[in-house]
Amino acid sequence: MSFRILLTSAVALLPFVAPAVDRTKQPTPGAAPTAAFPDFKVRTLASGLRVIVIPDDRSPTVTLRLQLKAGSTVDGGSGLSGFTASLLNRGTAKLDAAAFAKAIDSIGAQLNGGASADSMSVSTSGLTKFTDRLLELFADALVNPVFPADELAKEQKRSLSSIAAGKKQPGTLAGNLMGRVIFGEHPYGKFSTEDSVKAVTRDAIVAFHKTWIVPNNASLVIVGDVEPDAIVAKVEKAFAAWESRPTPPLAPLPPPPKMSGLTVHLVDRPESVQSSIIVCQPAPARNFPDLPEVNVMNSTLGGGFSGRLFQNLREKHGYTYGSSCAFNYYAQGGYFQATADARNEVTAPAIKEILNEIGRIRTEPIPAEELELQRQYNVGNYLLSLESASRVAGRVQDIELYGLPADFYKTYATRMSAVTPDSAQKLAQKYLSTENTAIVVVGKAETVKPELEKIGKVVVYDTELNVVK
């Protein structure tokens, strides 16, 4: 109480004389801080497990994230990696599913697994005062899971319900169809179906676990209020029983199809009051040489509030709440997507504006002032992202997963700063197309199809994603 009064009177004594700032002008900033990706050390344990510790004493918690090369490129898109990851916390040799859940919940912690295109990740986090117990449960889930048959059956039932729900969700429908259009028969293009869920067996999961969930196929990052040597010693002890085993070579996979021509893929969702639009095309794999520079070109086209897509589709035309674009990269390929959700009557105009903007960034050099804004935007936001220890940890794991140069994130900001109008235009011409592109739309076909036909050939799908004749 007295504290507040003290402060208030202190402020009242500050001299309020002539206005000290000219508010008609943008203030001049001081020297910009430099983005410095932290140094990190990779320790390889005897089992082959690579461990990276990133100390962060801001909160009394610890997070461990294990990443394994065991995603869809390994399971062929069958969904086996996802089921294996989800069921790791549903019972071990020591604790059944209910007892395991109780053990994790009772210390207020989390432990979950999931799989994606190129990897599986299993994460756990909790208060540092429970570190020992957390490690014990984490190791138990990874090393001794029993994958009870009834837990698999429950997970399958829930998955079938989720699939049913997805057929009513515009985002799920659009994402699934886009994957198929871009990646074809490659596992990146597969998604869960009733058939794929029903085909999963316990035996296959047990075999998947035995083959792929091995320490020599994994990296572990630890972030939190921990002392590196001490936590690594604890990890080594907790995972002592985890045996290494050589993993089989990756089977060769069908390459993503080449995209030629412009096709509109329209999912008919009669109840839609708005169309979900994705203009998409293939992009290179994660380790291609131009990534930092492409970031700047991409954000000019459609990154954040100042990107051209947002400015054009939202701020100029009021077609949509948001429009943006991104390159998404995997180990064996990638895709570019520009998205917007636009009301039925402006669906076709919104697509035309996206195509116009893709065309413009290919044919016209970016004006110097706009490019400078975008370089600053990318470099500054990279600097801001380094505040998050878990973002840093994820990047460290990406370096290994995708085979990036060790100094990738050390040179990242400098490379983004060096993009010129000429280099950006060359990148746009190399990585973007207005002719060879797919346009996925989820919407009310009856209303939007006639206008879409003026843009290109339209293929109509039902919500099962079967082509409607």
Binding site: K154, R314, R343
Partner: protein, 444 residues
């Protein structure tokens, strides 16, 4: 000096937590009012070369007229238009070009605006925030564009999504007759009717320094920030204190059921809800712990019963929604394919009645407190979150130091309190229910 003094106060406040060996670090800050009533909170921290600014206005959808719902949120969009010294649609470019990012949000009680920037751009952030507080400028073009944008936002987030109407339906039912009965997005009809003159009036009424809190968190020197704040905000005139709506809820005399039939509903879903308390009520934390015991984690009661044992639901949630002047507590279950709504109702009823009759076990209680400690420990790691939490603590409790007192409020709850609040609020005869039936027959 002042900071040291403050830290001492904070330590006194957290001594209770230390008995349980909590190591959550209290946030240090200094705070003061400008003569015009703007409340300033400064959290200086040099861990990373970043700075976050956060301006919280004490106005939200509950301040709207019933025939202008969605107005506070619509106006939030117009705060990005420009000012006397910043031309239209420059704000986002100024922040992007400075290497930062920005956004804003509108809720029932408050509207907030934030910038995250490299540390050398603090003056830019303060310039922009002071410009739009001193003389925000909106024109017809901006209003008409944002009218379309806001309607697209409504379609995208709510009208086009399965269960998108859930929260709207819930508030309409539980908060009927009060200004919490509509949600911040508002209705299309009233978004269409909003006039430019009304926006200017709204800004004059609510966007006054004495109705705002400014927080800066991150890599700056407190003395430098004070000078910049005095320079940029000192000459903004004080306004008249706005009137606050009074909210008085009447629980129903008998159970209420509303059925929401929508073609886009994929799985059957049931919501049970009750009138609860405002966010600062002493019962609030007990209700929160009760909700966690009911539905947080795989060992929670509703998960064990509905999802695991009976396999009737894909997911179950329990959550208090507590506002400044009223609150509700809800239980929501999304059924598996083919499960009837009656079955979901019955299972929810049984679990609710069970916790009312038996209370919670010691294990459950410890678990919920550990979960809360874990959650709170993660809450303050980044500067943007610190800025937000400091402002919210000040507005909610009238006392910024409550930002460091949250765990203590939970630790003050006794196990018996959970049984008490369950019986006080989850009254069977006063249950509101929402049903989302599946339009077609479920696939065989």
């Amino acid at each position: 000096m002042l900071k040291t003094l403050f830290l001492a106060l904070a330590l006194v406040a957290t001594s209770h937590a230390q008995e349980t060996k909590s190591a959550i670090k209290p946030l240090a800050f200094t705070e003061y009012d400008l003569p015009n009533g703007l409340h300033v909170i400064l959290h200086e921290n040099h861990a990373a070369p970043v700075v976050s600014t956060y301006v919280l206005y004490h106005v939200g959808s509950k301040n709207e007229r019933p025939d202008r719902t969605g107005f506070a949120h619509f106006f939030e969009h117009l705060m990005f238009e420009g000012s006397e010294n910043i031309p239209r649609s420059r704000i986002d470019k100024l922040i992007s070009g400075a290497g930062g990012n920005l956004n804003a949000s509108t809720s029932f009680d408050v509207t907030d605006y934030f910038f995250n920037l490299p540390q050398n751009q603090l003056a830019l952030a303060l310039w922009i925030e002071s410009e739009r507080m001193l003389h925000n400028r909106i024109d017809e073009t901006g209003v008409e564009t944002q009218r379309q944008v806001v309607k697209e936002e409504r379609r995208m987030r709510y009208d086009n999504q399965p269960y998108g109407s859930l929260f709207e339906q819930l508030c309409k039912m539980v908060f009927a007759g009060t200004s919490y009965e509509w949600t911040p997005i508002g209705s299309t009809q009233y978004i269409d009717q909003a006039q430019i003159g009304e926006f200017r009036e709204f800004w004059k009424t609510y966007y006054m320094p004495n109705n705002a809190t400014l927080v800066i968190a991150g890599d700056f020197k407190t003395e430098d920030a004070k000078k910049l704040i005095a320079d940029y905000f000192g000459d903004i005139p004080k306004g008249t204190a706005p009137k606050r709506p009074v909210v008085k809820l009447t629980p129903p005399k008998k159970p209420v059921l509303v059925e929401v039939k929508e073609a886009k509903t994929p799985l059957p879903a049931a919501m049970h809800a009750w009138v609860a308390c405002p966010e600062t009520d002493p019962d609030a934390v007990a209700l929160d712990l009760l909700a966690d015991i009911l539905a947080s984690g795989r060992s929670s009661r509703l998960y064990r019963r509905l999802v695991d044992k009976e396999q009737a639901a894909v997911a179950a949630q329990a959550f208090p929604v507590l506002f400044e002047s009223a609150g509700l507590i809800g239980v929501f279950a999304t059924g598996n394919r083919g499960v009837t709504l009656e079955k979901l109702d019955q299972l929810i009823d049984e679990e609710v009645e069970k916790v009312k009759a038996e209370g919670v076990t010691e294990d459950e209680f410890t678990k919920a407190l550990n979960g809360k400690e874990d959650e709170l420990a993660r809450d303050n790691s980044q500067m943007s979150a610190r800025a937000r939490n400091l402002a919210r603590a000040r507005l909610t409790w009238g006392k910024t130091s409550e930002v460091n007192g949250e765990l203590n409020r939970y630790l003050a709850v006794k196990r018996e309190d959970l049984k008490r609040v369950a019986n006080k609020y989850l009254i069977k005869e006063q249950t509101y229910r929402l049903h989302y039936p599946v339009a077609e027959a479920p696939a065989k």
